[in-house]
């Protein structure tokens, strides 16, 4: 029983950064923008969260700093793609290359530095429930935040007028523009939200999961988050399932390594990436379903005529 709790807990920890980033990117893509720079925004969030926490001694300041760093990176992408009308795929790659470089530069004085890990919040009474208690009611505040932001995103996209407008912009930006919606402004807001969440995902890695900074510590999670959005069919509820599925694969791989199976660890470490490919194929192989869900203007440049 305790092993099972530990495995599920590990899965939740591994899934949380993915969930943050995927929730953010989902909103961005629903607004019709393909930001491939999630990895760069995440790693900037990780380094900013770590540095601010280390310098100020406050985890909260670190978390806010990470969200701001991720948001600033996203707005840089927004400037490129929405104002200067640059290609979104190329700009997203540029954002990742730039973010990996800048984070390494900013963090170069901080490797080997340690900060106190984000403390857990044990919810009184509820945390004592056998099995469910430790799983649901004894986590870092960022875990609860990831779930809260997912619920907020789901509510926003399906229940609010603003969410409806955002989806309209993503489905057909020319039509949305024609009826008077501010396409560029809406997309910049969506991008900032996506960047802030990617930053939080990075900060979860550097101040909660392992309170350390190391270069490239996101290790491809930003790209996996992009795959999760496709897996989720651009719907928040399924993003939760996707993130936990990928978290599960990561943790399973660690547990198998821990059991001392006679497979070199490198092969097991490949699993999350291979599963990502397998899932992408499985989802994409059903073209009718996917075509129905992908936002119509995804990745296309919007240029208002006249």
């Amino acid at each position: 029983m305790e092993l099972l709790v530990n495995i599920i807990l590990g899965m939740m920890l591994a899934a949380t950064p993915l969930l943050f980033a995927a929730t953010g990117e989902l909103v961005v893509e629903r607004a019709g923008v393909l930001n491939l720079g999630v990895e760069g925004m995440m790693v900037m969030g990780a380094v900013a969260g770590f540095i601010v926490t280390a310098e100020s001694g406050s985890h909260l300041a670190g978390i806010v700093g990470a969200a701001l760093a991720g948001g600033a990176m996203a707005l840089l992408f927004g400037l490129m793609t929405q104002v200067l009308l640059a290609n979104q795929v190329a700009s997203g790659l540029a954002l990742t290359i730039f973010g990996l470089g800048l984070s390494a530069l900013l963090g170069s004085g901080y490797s080997g530095f340690s900060i106190p890990a984000l403390p857990r919040i044990e919810i009184p009474l509820l945390a004592d429930i056998p099995f469910l208690g430790p799983l649901l009611f004894n986590h870092e505040p960022m875990f609860y935040l990831s779930i809260a932001l997912l619920l907020l995103t789901g509510w926003f996209l399906t229940r609010t007028r603003a969410g409806l407008i955002l989806k309209a912009v993503g489905e057909n930006h020319d039509a949305a523009h024609a009826i008077g919606h501010k396409v560029v402004l809406i997309r910049l807001l969506a991008l900032a939200w996506g960047g802030a969440l990617a930053g939080l995902g990075g900060a979860y890695l550097s101040i909660a999961r392992t309170p350390l900074w190391s270069e490239d510590m996101t290790a491809g999670r930003g790209w996996i988050a992009l795959a999760i959005v496709v897996f989720a069919g651009w719907r928040p509820g399924r993003a939760l399932i996707g993130a936990y599925l990928f978290g599960g694969v990561t943790i399973l791989q660690l547990h198998v390594q821990g059991l001392g199976v006679a497979i070199p660890s490198q092969y097991l470490s490949m699993l999350p990436y291979l599963v990502t490919i397998a899932v992408l194929v499985a989802i994409s192989a059903n073209p009718t379903r996917q075509a129905l869900r992908a936002p119509g203007s995804l990745g296309r440049t919007f240029h208002a005529q006249g």
Binding site: I97, F98, G101, S108, G220, A227, P264, M270, Y273, A285
Partner: protein
Amino acid sequence: MIRLERRPEPSKIMLWLTPVLAMILTILVGMVLFTILGKDPVQTVAVIFLSPFSDLYNLSELIVKATPLILIAIGLSLGFRAGIWNIGAEGQFTIGALAGGATALAFHGMEALWLMPLMWVVGIAAGMAWAAIPAFLRTRFGANEILVSLMLVYVATLLLSAMVTGPLRDPDGFNFPESRLFEGSATMPLLLDGTRAHIGFIAALVAALAAWLLLGRHVVGFQIRLLGEAPRAARFAGFLESRVIWFCLLVSGGLAGLAGLFEATGPVGQLVPGLPVGYGFTAIIVAFLGRLNPLGIIIAGFVMAVTYLGGEAAEISMQLPNAVTAVFQGLLLFFLLGMDVLSTYRIRPRPGFWKAA
């Protein structure tokens, strides 16, 4: 205030002026960055841009760095023109090095003229095979080639690490995770004795020439350009998008594999886990900086090689962190993409731009 008006044809002058402008902007922002880091900005820029030209050895090192960048970028540029995004060249590079290097190790100690050509063929084939995975999954199942090719970078790096700690480990190497050193027939012939510049550079020039002929003179080149510029028309014209996808991914994978093999058997001299140092990603910048044009890519490859070598020199003589090079390269790509607005659009004054946007 201003508005953007689409040009009927991209401006040829701007197309070639933007890389220069982007370079200047990058240097200016770089100088601000150096000042923040407490270095003399003018001196730092001078070190970065002059030291690679200081003597013959440094010049030859420029060729060493530019060779893989040009080879990979030539392949990538074909796909980028067609809107096919192979961003996993780093993985194809790694697999090419691994397979070609394993071939060399299999014939360890043997002196034979056929060994090097065989290694080249294996390196190319392995890079192609690695790129065939995203090509197959894209054309057969519609899986996004960006994500698939990128995931395979991590898989390739882990595979290399598994191999050099396992079957390919140097038996006399005290358990270090590295292969034997390549010897004799299995090392790249040098262009110039006493340097590390090897004949792979000639292969890179040949690849650039072939790409130039392909794009300008061959129907496949026409199909690539058409698919990128007018995908709907390309479909009406009746040729298969999937064939172009296969072609672009196989060519770029093969060239990246070859670049990997060159790197392993040339400058590095053995298989080590740290062999992939990011050339596959930097080559993306090279391809754009060179305007997806073969001649441009050769120039851009050298410009990027200067930033690598100059960055290393600044690291030593100015105590700059080595991450500065990556920041520099990222900034350059940003400015380049942003400035491209000048070549595809005209900027015209108009009242109330911000309201309408």
